[in-house]
Symmetry: C7
Subunit: 96 residues, 7 copies
């Protein structure tokens, strides 16, 4: 059983901020604030433009991404908390 | 007697969150919060674009979908509570 | 004497919710809440699109429709309370 | 001396609600509420669309119309109170 | 020294409301309310549309116009109070 | 060292209002209000339209302009306070 | 490990305001206000327009830029605080 995002939506699994990483990304860790780094679990087929064409997605499953603090809708799949948001809400891909 | 949604609207029947599913989707179950998982009962013919073309729907009757917590208008058909919303308000299809 | 709606507007006559219908549509009946089911009395010629073309209406006089709770402007014709709203505010047609 | 509305604007003279008409339009007559039925006095040449074309007006001088309660800007011509609004704010024409 | 409005802007000189005109335009004269009738002093070259074309102005210098009560930015030229606003904020031309 | 505005932005140096000018522009001088007249210091290359074309600027360096009271972002260059705003925020050019 | 901004986003490293620069840019230094000058660290591939074409970026890595005070999302990379924002939020490039 899995989620298939519609159009330009992506499904994200939050990654904990590595607060003491030596060379990694560190997300500010305000109390009660959830991490804004995550792994893309699934992506939609792309945004349908006004003329009917489909704009392909700029991220793919497996990408590590940063997103806005208040972005997305939370759902639980198999006991795991996931986020569904628009590609628009993603700000950057973290390249390894 | 049945409902025919207009344009890009869909009619949804809420599905109870399976709070203890072993391998299924579990929706957070805050007190007084209604489930945000549902079954598509009927779909419109699609959104009419500005140039008159019709954008076909990305979901069909029978699909299990997730949607935003505050999405849709509630109606009762044959004693059953249904939701009418835009396809836009659906975030993902749950594949079996 | 009758009303001719402009562009994509429709004129609606509210239908009382059949609170105890055996197989019919039942609209939630909160105190002081007006029914959101109605009969289409008249329709405009359609929305004029940006390129000058006219998008035909998806409903016609005689249709039974559901609409948003706060939709439309109320007017009285021959002592009868009517609603004028945009086709956009209609969510579904109830088929018999 | 007369007013020439610009683009898609219309000039309206309010008509008193006929509170006891036998077969006529009756507008709800809440205290301190102005009538929302009026006669079209003058119309503009039409809305200029984004591609430069002009969309002709759907009403003409002499038409009796209904409009939104808070629509328009009030002006006085020859001691007579008039309203200037966009055609968009008109909801229906009352046909005789 | 004079003002050249940009694009679709117009420069207006307010005209006092002729409160007791026999056959003229009378603007409501609420205390502390400035007149909403004015003379066009200068006009821009027209709005630049999205495709680069210029939409010519519908008013010209010398026209007497009505405008929205809160429209425009006030400036003083040679001790005279003027208003700069968009053509969009003008509602009608008063023809003589 | 100088500023190059992006797209349709302009850099403005405020000019003091000449409160007692005999024949010049006088800007209302409310206490604590900054002048809304300025000199254009630099302009961008123009707004990039949706189809990729560039709309050239309607003002150039050296122009004296009027702008909205709350327009722009303040920056200091070489101890001098400047404003960066969109051409859209300019209302008129003062011709000499 | 580095960040790849999506679409028209840029990654910025704030530069401290040089409060006493002889010939440099000085940013107002209100208490508790962060500098609004920064260095571009990475840029996206450009905004995808409605017709699918890509609008190239007007800034490149290495550029020194000014941006709006409240622009962007803060992230930490290798212990360094960075900002991710849209090119739209940049107001000017500081040329050396």
């Amino acid at each position: 059983m899995k989620l298939r995002p519609l159009h330009d939506r992506v499904i994200i699994k939050r990654l904990e901020a590595e607060t003491k990483s030596a060379g990694g990304i560190v997300i500010p860790d305000a109390a009660a604030e959830k991490p804004i780094k995550g792994e893309v679990i699934a992506v939609g087929t792309g945004k349908i433009l006004d003329d009917g064409k489909v704009r392909p997605m700029a991220v793919k499953a497996g990408d590590t991404v940063l997103f806005g603090k208040y972005s997305g809708t939370e759902v639980k799949v198999d006991g795991e908390e996931l986020l569904v948001m628009r590609e628009e809400d993603l700000v950057a891909v973290i390249e390894k």
